[in-house]
Symmetry: none
Subunit: 207 residues, 4 copies
DNA sequence: TAGTAACCGAGACGGTACGTCTAGTCTTGTC
DNA sequence: GACAAGACTAGACGTACCGTCTCGGTTACTA
């Protein structure tokens, strides 16, 4: 998958029409393809994914599919990207600990989901192999971290954390642990563990 | 791939000869195949891995390869298992902080190295797609963590950490942050940062 | 392709306009399409003929092309028909032998020419696969033979050849030999050979 | 089709085994493929020829087929070449005219046959486009002409034709006429016509 | 020392998905 | 209406690669 094609696929769903000459691409086909890709992926997994099956399920010719995505990987990537849900705002209650718990629980659930969860290592690997790819990846990660980051920054303003708190490292310790257990060690990540994680992260930075 | 076949493949390299009649298997071929598999895996990733390429690189016929491993996945698994390296012992000085710094620095350097470092996201990705992969991978990780884990456990015995310290979580917060910055965010990981990381991890668990 | 559609396509270039409402068809497009078709056909043969390439070469949209001809075969047929050239008249001097020599030399030169000469085997091949092609092709051939045929017929009237001469066979022996050497055996066809050919053809039919 | 691949295909059926390492190609597959190709060609013509259909009919994987022939055209060429029948010897009776009649009738029948007849224009066209191809073609033609040529040469020895007869031109006039009528004009070629053709060719060269 | 069982290299084989390509049709907006 | 542009359906093509198989030939143990 090339970064450019991904970018265009991503833009397509959001950018202005910018219609040129000729018959416009069928929006129905767009949607049907992505939906079919998600469904086939869910049913057969990555290894069992067949381009022909996606096209058939979408009720579309294979060439219609290849006009949009240069290959199977790109297609799947776009489908999963489009299927991502936008994060709800991070709560800001009186309890910093409780708010951070919401953040990490949400992260755990995302990582544990079938679609995004399976996608992340793939993106990581692509990024490690094609540096230009890593940026798209980082963009996504940065986005998902923002809510938590802002809550921590607010905690400093509120006086809940010292002024010189390293906000990034604060988050990296919490997120890193979840990431690590989700994708590397596979160790348990139940709510109690998450609570403990938040507590310790806070204790590490408070004085 | 079945667990049993994996086990036998793994054992094969270490079990007793149990020689029967006929020409024995070439030990050179054994080694060449595993080495070639690792190299091809590192170069092309799981998706780009070609059995034919491994055979060719090993200077061996494809059938020689399939006589040893029932399929591509098993072969790769065996290769990765065999390629695991043994860590030097973790120091145990008077300074827990200093000893842990050695552990995390070693980890950072490993992740930053050309060979292992580049392999890890690939292994991760392969593991996410092929669950049977993940277990081999986890075993490897567990092994590499043991040194650090033991040092933390000793710290409890020494009275440097409370008795009820969650050793696993302790390590996951430190290792997770390094992992995250190495492979995900790409943020800085200089020695100062590592020191700070160790300090905060300790502070989080001490009372 | 049906015979009727061919006929209409052929007629189209010569029939009265019969203008209805709306924008009239572009005469420039008409010409450009046929010219482009001939050129593409000469360059790539029937098998290598791409409708898209013809349209592009003609500077015309594919739909403009399909508005005129129902399919590739019909288009090519119309193009070849339109591209037929008219021969100069066959001389009628006192010397039948000399006149026939002019005919066969002209034929040889045509076959040896870059444009027509290279086109003929291609047309032949297309005709062998697409019978509807063969007829158009035969009409063309018949046309080009007429001059020579008439000269031979005149020779009978003049008393230079017997009344019962098989005019067609007479021509076929001469033309066939030239055709054969030009496109099949590649044997020499210098003026001496042509003279000898004419002489023998005449001797064969005179008594 | 490349000349080399054709040559190898042709040689394969006649050359020595020359077995190298590895599993030898299945002779059954060889035969089944060629047979299936001929049958599919006969049933659906060139345009309707599907590689997949040939493979299926031959009970062979498509890859087995492509291992032998680089493309559809080459395969068909080989199939038709292999299906060619060897000419029986040209008779040498007291009647030169009668013997030559056998030759030309045989030629006419060959040209009129479905397989060879349809093949010749294709070969011609390929030869005109790829000069290196023309040689294979000429070889075939030369072979088929030899019988007739030898009979004419014998006629000179026998005193049936003058010593200075141009044997090649003699044949070209007869063969050319048949060629021309078979592939170009499509004019009748019944036995009477052939008799007349032979008679005139003889008259042309006798004194 | 001869057999013989299992190995080895080489490469063909069945099967199957991929991504490409083309013909002919359809759908836009523009002239 | 014609036209340019280009998307669309349908389906064949030729490639790639896996895991299996079939050869000729080799290598060590065993009778």
């Amino acid at each position: 998958m090339s970064a450019s094609s991904t970018a265009s696929a991503v833009d397509a769903s959001e950018a202005a029409p910018a219609r040129g000459a000729g018959r416009p691409r069928s929006a129905e086909a767009d949607a049907a393809i992505l939906a079919a890709a998600i469904e086939e992926f869910a049913e057969h997994g990555y290894e069992g994914l067949r381009v022909g099956a996606i096209a058939e399920r979408a009720g579309v010719a294979k060439s219609t599919l290849y006009r949009r995505y240069p290959n199977k990987t790109d297609l799947l990537q776009a489908a999963l990207w489009q299927a991502r849900s936008t994060d709800p705002p991070v709560p800001h209650t009186d309890s910093l600990e409780q708010d951070l718990f919401v953040v990490v629980r949400r992260l755990r659930d995302t990582f544990a989901s079938d679609d995004i969860g399976r996608l992340i290592p793939t993106i990581l690997e692509a990024g490690s192999r094609h540096p230009e790819f890593a940026s798209a990846h980082r963009e996504y990660i940065t986005e998902r971290r923002r809510g938590g980051l802002e809550r921590v920054a607010a905690a400093i303003t509120d006086g809940d954390l010292p002024d010189d708190t390293d906000v990034q490292l604060f988050m990296d310790m919490a997120v890193g642990a979840i990431f690590y257990r989700s994708f590397v060690s596979g160790a348990a990540l139940d709510d109690d563990t998450l609570h403990e994680l938040v507590r310790q992260t806070l204790r590490a930075h408070r004085r």
